[in-house]
Symmetry: C2
Subunit: 143 residues, 2 copies
DNA sequence: CTTGACTCCGTAGCTGCTACAGACTTTATC
DNA sequence: GATAAAGTCTGTAGCAGCTACGGAGTCAAG
């Protein structure tokens, strides 16, 4: 199986496969006489493992650990569980941060919708310094 | 005001300030006789503008646009509004993607909590192929 | 006068790819 | 069998958004 076929079968981009090999996530495949990479079904499975890990937001380093744990027959499920839980906590933090951003943005956008002259509340929110408070006179401005 | 003071006053890392200058977000500041950068209060305000933009998740290119709109006296509030709304939509998409990830992760973690032997459901979820349930029975699989 | 803190510039590193260029090999068509 | 098209090879550079050096020059305190 050539690299483009492995790419199609795994869903990974062709150049990404070579990249995974370079960084040691994928083993160096056997080669044909002319030097082309030859992949076995097991390689495609490994690529899909990586790809699904990425879909779940794991970093390549985390996936490297997961692959090691997966390859090791004397399974340490606790480590996998800990890694996954830590990752989940991280995702929750990112969601929280983005939700805060979205909330704040919605607030300043909503204020802007009304007035179009001179005082753009969006730019105002970016300019605003703590000792130089809101340019908006409306008490609704700062909840 | 020297660069470290501007850093302290703006909340930007010192090297980040130089970076912003290099990419053209910050103007080249005046220099002291010996070549040290000298910042005015307006520069610090601009840094804080950038910093708040980053806190709201805007990219540096978006912030570049916002700065241009902010600097331009004949204000085009509509452009600002459009930019902010597009950014907000993007944030919502990212939240959605992360929420999906979190949901799926929670699912496989919850399943794992029970059993600790042989079958780790987290690794199982990563290994799983929809059309090829068994790993590989064929001895040709591993070259 | 020396020590230490600061600043300068340029460059390289980080993550996770993606996209070349230029050389080669394989496959398809005539 | 010749030739064109498509695939593959390697190595390197680019993206965002910083951060962290190294080696040199500058400034203030003791």
């Amino acid at each position: 199986m050539k690299i483009s076929e492995a790419a199609a079968a795994s869903g990974c981009h062709l150049e990404t496969i070579r990249y995974y090999e370079r960084v040691g996530l994928m083993p160096r495949p056997t080669r044909t006489g002319s030097g082309y990479r030859a992949y076995a079904p097991a390689d495609v499975e490994r690529l899909r493992f990586i790809s699904r890990g990425r879909e779940l937001g794991f970093s390549l380093e985390e996936i490297r650990s997961l692959l090691r744990l997966n390859d090791d027959p004397k399974l340490s499920c606790g480590d996998v569980d800990a890694l996954a839980r830590a990752h989940l906590a991280d995702i929750h933090q990112r969601i929280e941060a983005l939700t805060r951003m979205a909330g704040e943005l919605e607030r300043v956008i909503a204020q802007c919708a009304g007035g179009e002259r001179g005082t753009c509340t969006i730019l105002g929110a970016l300019r605003r310094t703590d000792n130089n408070p809101t340019p908006c006179a409306d008490p609704e401005c700062r909840p």
